[in-house]
């Protein structure tokens, strides 16, 4: 009933294409996170689905029906805006009640509906306040309550945690998945925060420059990012990116780091001699006592609560970040050796930034085929 499909969606402003041919399929009841840097077109995409802006080409289908000619008020969508977009001249109750008043409920039904969702979001004590009198967190919850109150089949959430403080964002990141699951709605959730994306999405679609660069499960996006940019956007500390030129000999394909071999997947033989970038997640690296590890100099150590990040440099002064659980002992200064888990290494073409797959084709070529 509420599957969302986009087919070759195009949106231009003047002559600039903001969305150039978006294809997307969000199955009923699932959550898709739309992830991308600012200006990628995420908000415009949501607005096209909501009907707030008209697309210049392509189709939006909700529940299998083309809604291109359906006015926004008839699409049956709940939406929370990044800037909350509360009605400043109405109190929180009327704000939340607005989707209910539209469909002619009685005053009792409206009160009951608003009270339920307000209790759920813990804003039942501020319902008589105007938006001006609400804190940012309360505004955000009011906006969310307004989107949820009519139990819409489709929920569009445009970076709702963007403008709230870190503590509340953390709380909401924990609460939201349960809340969204309870609703049973098909959700598209826009965010620029990779943690939010990983925590909330059944799938993540990475949008950049008006195109979907990658669409996959959080695991896939993290482990097998389609491009260098995606690899850099996901993960904290960020992925280590090292310029390498893969070589091969009798024992297989490898890249060298400080004269030590990093064994690559034999399927990558097609990349031999090509200028590449090797991506290594900081948590795929670990310190070792053994001499066969890559020799490095420890430069700085930054302890976080749950992990410790160490900045090391190789013999050729290339900087690498190593992350380890906080309780794991490790050398804190001087020379050390690190080992690399080659299964976590990803290889990108340096020129195009596209991931190179072991089967010899680049990710882009694979997609085209």
């Amino acid at each position: 009933m509420s599957r969302i499909e986009l087919k070759k969606l195009v949106k231009r402003f003047k002559d600039t294409a903001v969305l150039s041919g978006i294809d997307l399929d969000v199955p009923e009841g699932s959550t898709l996170v739309l992830f991308g840097p600012s200006g990628a077109g995420k908000t415009v995409l949501l607005r096209c689905i909501a009907g707030a802006v008209e697309q210049d080409g392509g189709e939006v289908l909700i529940g299998g029906e083309d809604v291109t000619d359906v006015l926004p008020e008839h699409r049956g969508i709940g939406m929370a805006f990044q800037n909350f977009a509360l009605f400043p001249h109405m109190d929180a109750f009327d704000n939340i009640a607005s989707p209910l008043t539209a469909c002619g409920r009685t005053a009792d039904q409206i009160r009951a509906g608003v009270d339920t969702v307000a209790k759920l979001l813990k804003i039942d004590h501020v319902l008589s306040h105007t938006p001006k009198a609400l804190s940012n967190g309360q505004k955000q919850r009011t906006a969310l309550a307004r989107a949820l109150v009519s139990r819409p089949k489709v929920l569009l959430l445009d970076d709702p945690l963007r403008n709230v403080d870190a503590k509340l964002r953390f709380e909401m990141r924990l609460e939201l998945p349960r809340l969204l699951a309870d609703q049973g709605a098909t959700v598209i959730y826009v965010t620029q925060d990779y943690r939010e994306a990983m925590a909330l999405g059944d799938r993540i679609a990475v949008l950049d420059g008006g195109r979907i660069i990658q669409n996959g499960t959080p695991e896939e996006i993290y482990r097998r990012p389609a491009t260098i940019n995606i690899a850099k956007l996901f993960g904290d500390p960020t992925i280590n990116l090292l310029d390498v030129v893969p070589q091969s000999d009798a024992s297989g394909v490898y890249a060298s780091l400080s004269d030590r071999r990093i064994q690559l997947d034999p399927g990558l033989s097609g990349t031999v001699g090509r200028e590449c970038v090797l991506g290594l997640r900081p948590e795929a690296l670990s310190f070792t006592d053994a001499d066969e590890g890559v020799p490095v100099t420890i430069e700085a150590e930054t302890p976080f609560n749950e992990k410790t990040v160490t900045l090391v440099t190789t013999l050729r002064k290339r900087e690498i970040l190593v992350s380890r659980p906080a309780e794991m002992p490790a050398p804190t200064s001087g020379m050390a050796h690190i080992t690399i888990d080659p299964s976590d290494a990803v290889l990108f073409d340096r020129q195009t930034g596209v991931r190179l797959d072991p089967n010899g084709t680049s990710h882009a070529a694979e997609k085209a085929a």
Binding site: G51, L71, P72, E73, F87, H89, A102
Partner: protein
């Protein structure tokens, strides 16, 4: 909070007083004049000491002007009523037409929308007298000359562009997301206009309406040419005070006080809207 020096405060007070005196003195003087007879007004040197009299007001209200050449009847109260009728209906019509138009121009970029908006503004470019000659001929042919309807129509040249451009700025100031949110919540575009756009632009509409009222009230030349005695507003009616037998300063002053009173009261009531509206309209226009 106050970290200004004493000297600074004193200088400020002096400067403020000077400004207030400069701008308020003519009005103050007129109020004084309206309470004096012609003899005390014209004595030399002028003096602030006199026995106040309400004779001038009585004469204006009864419509019997005493001059040294005898009694003359005027229609000042009728003029005042005309002013009120013309201004109120002009502004009401301009709001009725201008506010939805302003909303359309603010929210929908249709083909030629900027050109139309600019054309409406350009009504204010032409010197009124240039427009008036052909207009008079048309109005006479149409039977609109010397009718309230015709005057209210012509007054749209003054009120409509003003309201349109100021209110448009206010509508543009409302985040479109707020309106989108209301639409997505399931309300039609007209409900959105009524329940969201209108209340949020309310102060702007009030300010624009007040300004238009002042401009309409003070209009002289349209009414002078297009209206005969019984339809004339105070601005034109004041001409009757200049007579062959001399100028009745006291009565003119009383008439002025009575004719600025309605706008002054209205302006005082909506003062904060007015200031906000002027500055915002200037920036956003």
């Amino acid at each position: 909070m106050d970290h200004r020096s004493a000297l600074e405060r004193i200088l400020r007070a002096i400067a403020l007083t000077a400004i207030v005196v400069f701008f308020m003195f003519p009005i103050f003087w007129i109020v004084l004049m309206s309470l004096q007879t012609n003899e005390t007004i014209l004595r030399s040197p002028p003096s602030m000491s006199f026995v106040p009299t309400l004779k001038n007001y009585a004469a204006i209200i009864s419509g019997e002007l005493d001059s040294n050449a005898g009694t003359m009847s005027i229609h000042f109260m009728n003029n005042l009523l005309n002013s009120i009728l013309l201004s109120v209906f002009s502004v009401a019509l301009a709001l009725l037409l201008g506010v939805p138009a302003a909303y359309a121009f603010a929210r929908h970029k249709f083909r030629g929308s900027e050109d139309i908006a600019f054309t409406l503004l350009s009504f204010r470019f032409a010197p009124p007298l240039l427009v008036l000659l052909p207009l008079t001929l048309y109005f006479q042919a149409l039977g609109l000359a010397n009718t309230y309807l015709g005057l209210v129509w012509v007054y749209q040249l003054i009120c409509l562009p003003l309201i349109l451009w100021i209110v448009r700025g206010y509508f543009e100031d409302i985040s479109p997301d707020i309106e989108h949110a209301y639409r997505i919540a399931g309300h039609g575009w007209f409900a959105t206009f009524r329940k969201i756009a209108l209340p949020l632009a309310g102060p702007g509409i009030a300010a624009a309406g007040l300004l238009a009222f002042i401009f309409a009230w003070n209009n002289f030349v349209f009414a002078l040419v297009l209206a005969s005695a019984d339809k004339q507003p105070v601005t034109v009616g004041a001409l009757a005070f200049v007579t062959a037998s001399g100028i009745q300063y006291g009565q003119i002053a009383a008439a002025i006080v009575m004719s600025i009173a309605p706008t002054l009261l209205l302006a005082l009531w909506a003062q904060r809207y007015l200031v906000e509206g002027l500055s915002l309209g200037a920036v956003k226009g």
